[in-house]
Each structure stands twice: as structure tokens, then as C-alpha cells.
């Protein structure tokens, strides 16, 4: 499939703000989404991600700020002139029109003759492998098929930006994974910009070239999926992505790029590779769940080890290729170690056991903000 639209699909949001009455849904956002990239707006419901999408689409007018697509300032322009196409969460298929007429709707609005628009609609339906259902009504189709129709209806407008509002949330697990792969393949093929709103972390990580994590109308971090997952910028992102343990300590001293910290419970931490810390600073850092080793606690002997915390096992969840060990540590909201299953079953531990969880000092990643301890209800578990 050739690229549909050669015009640049770069999206630039400049000081974008949206208020609904007193509520500020989007707060002064600046963001550039490169042309031809797959961008996921990720955040809990009510964080403003859908509002941003709708402002790009032209279904919502910004309270202030500018939106550029390619070279053009598009605020005030109708959707067709923006070169955007939107796929709605509910698919928004016209219930009174056949599948073929749904797809051909755009052409009908442009005054394309009946024969020609039927031909083009059939061609587009062929692409999404639904040509055989073209005379059906939307209600007679399964969720996955309806979504393909919605996709075909969006693509027939030859957009340079495709906007997807939680496109996979209505599908069952199996279809979701299948559609996820197809969306990614489609984006590769078309080379146009995809902006995809989701509240599901694995979806964003699997699809996106660029993940934008949002909270409360603000962007917490916009970066590649790997960066977001490995080196979250804030405690919120670390928690929301779900694969990190966040801890806080006060810097005692530095030596050869290794910072020595003291935690709240008198635990000692060491962080390597971070030179710009000063004694007396309070910093939060994150350690990936799968970088943590757990051992049944030996009788307390010798000095308190560094980068090791002691706690009681709260719950054990078998996840197939690893075992999720939740440890109740005094002074921490949550602490989870993901232990490879082979390792776990060598020396199984049970809820109630006292364990020591430890990690290498190279695994600790310092966050830009100090953790305020606000636990996030959406944090993935």
C-alpha cells in the first residue's frame, strides 16, 4: 500500500490550554509529534488525553494556544481541511447505512458520483478484508469487524494524521492483540502520523514510537517507550508504568560518582552513575521490579547490607514466566519484585515469610522529582 498522503503530518501543540467552565482539562501543553510517527497519549481517565485528541481533530476548540499540522495553524479549520481523520471509541458507524455506504460517506459529501464512490469504497473494504460484508448493516457486524469498517471510513479521506480514541478498549483480549499488531503494521505501511489515546500501558509500549504520559492535564514525560519504561522522569510515571519501585532517601555523601543515601527506616542506599547530587539533597529513585532479588531473611547478623530492604511477603502471584512477589515494607506504599519463575521455584517463599530484597547500585534510576507519596489508583499491578 502506498503512502496515502505525502504532506507532512507533523503535529505541534503550542501553549495549548482547554478549560470547561472552571475545570482546566489541558494545562498549557507544548508537544511536537514528528511526521510519520506512532504516538500514544497515555494516562488515567480524566487526564485530558482525549481532549487533546479532539482539539487536534477539530471537534473541540482550544481555550488558548495553537495547533500546527505540517506548516498550517489549524485552529478554527474544519476537520477535512486539517487532513485529519478520527476513529471514534464507539466507532460511530452510521446505523442506517450499509457498510459500503458508511465507507463511501466521505466521497458522497464531496459529491463523487455513485459508481465511482462505490468502486473506491469497495477497494477500501478489500484492504480491510471486509468486501464480502459490504451490504450488511453495522449492527450485523462483530466488534472487530465494526472497527475495521471505522478504519476504512477514516482512511478513505486520505488523511495525513489518523487520530484513534481508545480504539482497542471495546475488544476482547484476543482481538485486541490482533488489532494492535494490525494497527502498527498499517502505520508502517502508510507512513502517516498516528495519534492513539489509551489508558493501557502495555498497549502504549507495544505500539508507540513516542509515548506521552499525562496526568491532570499536564504532560509528565514524552519520550520513546523504552525510555519511559526504563528511566521514568517522575514518581508518577514510574508508578503509572507499573514496573518500578519508588524509594526516597537523603544524600549522605558522594564518592567516585556513587551517591550514598539514607532512607526513612534507616536503610542505606547506593546509586551509581549520578554525579550531580549533593550531600543533604532528598532524592527519589526507582528500581525495576525485575531487577530485584529476594532471599529468605537470614537471622540478623553482621552489618545492615546496602541496597537491601527487609519486609514481609504480602502476596504471591504466578504470572507464567515470572512470579510477582508483593512485599510489605514499612514506610513504602508498595514494593514488588518480579522473580523469574525458574529462580523462584528453586527456593519458594510464602506469604508471611520475612525476606530481604536487594539490587545492584547500577539499577537505581534517580527521578527528576521527589516522591510526594501520592499513590496512584491506576498504577498497574
Amino acid at each position: 500500500m502506498q503512502a496515502l498522503n505525502s504532506e507532512s503530518g507533523e503535529i505541534r501543540l503550542v501553549n495549548l490550554t482547554k478549560k470547561f467552565g472552571e475545570t482546566v482539562a489541558v494545562k498549557d501543553i507544548n508537544l511536537t509529534i514528528p511526521h510519520g510517527s506512532y504516538c500514544c497519549l497515555l494516562g488515567p481517565s480524566g487526564c485530558g488525553k482525549t481532549t487533546i485528541l479532539r482539539m487536534i481533530a477539530g471537534h473541540e476548540t482550544p481555550s488558548s494556544g495553537e495547533i500546527f499540522i505540517g506548516e498550517n495553524m489549524v485552529v478554527g479549520l474544519p476537520p477535512v481541511q486539517r487532513g485529519t481523520a478520527m476513529m471514534f471509541q464507539s466507532y460511530a458507524l452510521f446505523p442506517h447505512l450499509s457498510i459500503r455506504d458508511n465507507v463511501a460517506f466521505y466521497l458522497k459529501m464531496r459529491g463523487v458520483a455513485k459508481e465511482e464512490r462505490r468502486r473506491q469504497a469497495d477497494e477500501m473494504l478489500e484492504r480491510v478484508q471486509l468486501a464480502h460484508l459490504r451490504d450488511r448493516m453495522p449492527a450485523q457486524l462483530s466488534g472487530g469487524q465494526q472497527q475495521r469498517v471505522a478504519l476504512a471510513r477514516s482512511l478513505i479521506t486520505n488523511p495525513r494524521v489518523l487520530l484513534l480514541d481508545e480504539p482497542l478498549s471495546a475488544l476482547d483480549e484476543f482481538l485486541r492483540l490482533q488489532m494492535r499488531g494490525e494497527l502498527k503494521a498499517l502505520q508502517n505501511e502508510l507512513g502517516i502520523t498516528f495519534v492513539h489515546v489509551t489508558h493501557t500501558q502495555p498497549e502504549a509500549i507495544a505500539l508507540a514510537d513516542m509515548v506521552v504520559v499525562m496526568d491532570n492535564g499536564r504532560i509528565d514525560q514524552a519520550a520513546s517507550a523504552r525510555e519511559i519504561f526504563n528511566t521514568p522522569a517522575t514518581p508518577y510515571v514510574a508508578r503509572f508504568m507499573g514496573a518500578q519501585n519508588v524509594m526516597t532517601g537523603t544524600v549522605q555523601g558522594m564518592s567516585n560518582g556513587v551517591a550514598f543515601l539514607k532512607g526513612a527506616q534507616g536503610v542505606s542506599f547506593e546509586i551509581a552513575g549520578k554525579r550531580d547530587l549533593k550531600a543533604g539533597d532528598t532524592v527519589s529513585f526507582a528500581v525495576r521490579r525485575d531487577r530485584i532479588a529476594t532471599h529468605r531473611r537470614a537471622k540478623a547478623s553482621g552489618p545492615q547490607p546496602v541496597n537491601a530492604i527487609v519486609g514481609r511477603i504480602d502476596a504471591i502471584e504466578y504470572q507464567g514466566n515470572f512470579v510477582k512477589v508483593s512485599i510489605d515494607v514499612p514506610g513504602l506504599d508498595s514494593f514488588v519484585a518480579n522473580v523469574p519463575d525458574a529462580e523462584y521455584f528453586v527456593e519458594p517463599i510464602k506469604p508471611g515469610d520475612e525476606v530481604t530484597a536487594s539490587w545492584n547500585r547500577e539499577q537505581a534510576h534517580v527521578l527528576d522529582e521527589v516522591d510526594t507519596g501520592s499513590s496512584d489508583p491506576y498504577a498497574a499491578s
Partner: protein, 307 residues
Amino acid sequence: MTIGGGSGRRHPPAFRLSENMNSRSTALPYLQVTPLAVVLILFFAVPVALVLVVSFFRYQMLVGIVPDFTLKNYADILTNQTNWRLYYSTLKFAVIVLAITGVLGFWISYFLVFHVRNLVTAIALFLVCTVPFWTSNIIRMISWRPVLGREGLINQALVGGGIIDQPIEWLLYSDFAVVVAYVHLYTLFMIVPIFNSMARIDKSLLEAAIDAGATRWGVIWNVVLPLSKTGLALGALFVVTLVMGDFSVVTVMSGGLSGSAASAIFNDLQFLNYPRAAANAVVLLVVVLLIASAIFRLVDVRKELVR
């Protein structure tokens, strides 16, 4: 998959329970439908059957109703020029009123559903539409006299404003006045069903249409109108049956100059000619049923209501 889910063993006790329910439930639906059935039979089926039977009876001057089987009443009605004129005039009113209330109802509903963003405001405006119904039918009709009459508001304003020299005569006691009163009385019956079907339209459908380049009119014509068809059909049904069955509005507002199909029945009743009145009622019923079935043929209301 949760552990211990119902996928493994079956539970025989649950099955036995449902069999018990089955044997009892054969009588239950009939029992549940009885009250409504009794009401419908007593107050609908029996009277209609009675009217049908009487319509074949004979009317004898000074004697009254004589049980018989005669088609004379129907022959009278179908050969009477006046009757044909009355039906023609009633149908004409029905079509005019249907067109006006249809357009009004559609736009008022459209405004309420898609332009009033605040739900409380929408409900308040909706209640305003029902204000005329807070008083009786007769008062609502009579209130038009000070407005439309020879010395009425409109004529005084026009004469006082120097636009015309002589008051307009046809404002009151005319077909015009009848149509005004009908529209005033029956527009709400159009608004309610259209409002109902419009309120069920997913707002994102409108956005999807705009996304596909539809203009405001394009959205209305291609999305809103087709999806409001059920409401329009039900509203049309209300308005047509109300206009076809009316005789008081026509009599009052036309000053007795026009009549309706129902006023023929009223005349027969005044002469105690019950058989002919009954036959006339049957004819009217058949006409209305034909119109109703035509409306239902245009729009599959049942399918749409299930949606």
C-alpha cells in the same frame, strides 16, 4: 481464567430447579397479561364490535334502531356528496397540519437535543412546550379570538401601523384559523416522539459526519433526519389521528363554516340516527387505519424501537 470456575463439573441441583420453574411458568405469562387483556376487551374490543354491529342495523324515523342486516347506511355515506367533501376537507387539514407540525417539531427537537448543551435548560425548555396543555382545549381555542378576531391584536396592530386600511377578515372563522389552532394544539405531539428518537442519536455520529466533510446541512440530511424517522412517523400518527377524529376545533375556529368527517357523525347522533353514525365511524376508522398502515409501511417503527 479464574481457579475453580464453572467450567468443570456440572451442578445437577440447579438443573432440577429450572425444570420446576418451567412447569409453573406455563400459566404465569397468561396470568400476567390478564389485567391488560380484560381492560382492552372491555373498553376497546367490545365497543368497537358493538359499533360495527350497529352500523348494519336499520334506522326508522320515530321508531329508532331496528336490528337488521342492511348496507344502506354505508351506501348513504358513500353516495353523499357532502360526506365526500367533508372527508376531503379533513384530509386536506391533516396534510397541511402534518407538514407544519412536522417541520416545527423537527426543528424544535433538533434545537433542544443538539444545541442546548445544558440538560437542565433543555428540560426547562421542553416543559415550556407543554405550557399550552396546562389549560383546557376549549380555552386554548377561544384564546385565539382576541388575537385573530376582526378587532383582535393582529388586525389592530396592522391597521394601527398603517399597513392595511381594513381589518383582515380571514384571520378568524376560516380554514386559516383552523390550521393555526391545530398547529398550536398538536405540535407537542410531534415534538415528543421526535425528541425521543433524536435524543438516542449518538453525538459522535454527528462528529463522524463532520469529520467526513459533511456540512451542517449535510449532517442533518444524511444523519439526523434518517435517524429521526421513527419519531417523525409516530408523531405523524398522533397528529393524523387527532386531526381526523376532531370536530370541535373545526367547528369553533371556522365559526361553523367548515366541517370534518367527525362532524358528520355528530350530526347523525343529533338526529338519533345511531346506525348511520356507527357506519360513518367505521368508515372513518378504516380510513385512519389505512393512513396508519401507510405510515408504518414507510418506517419500520417496531424495528427502530427495539434498536
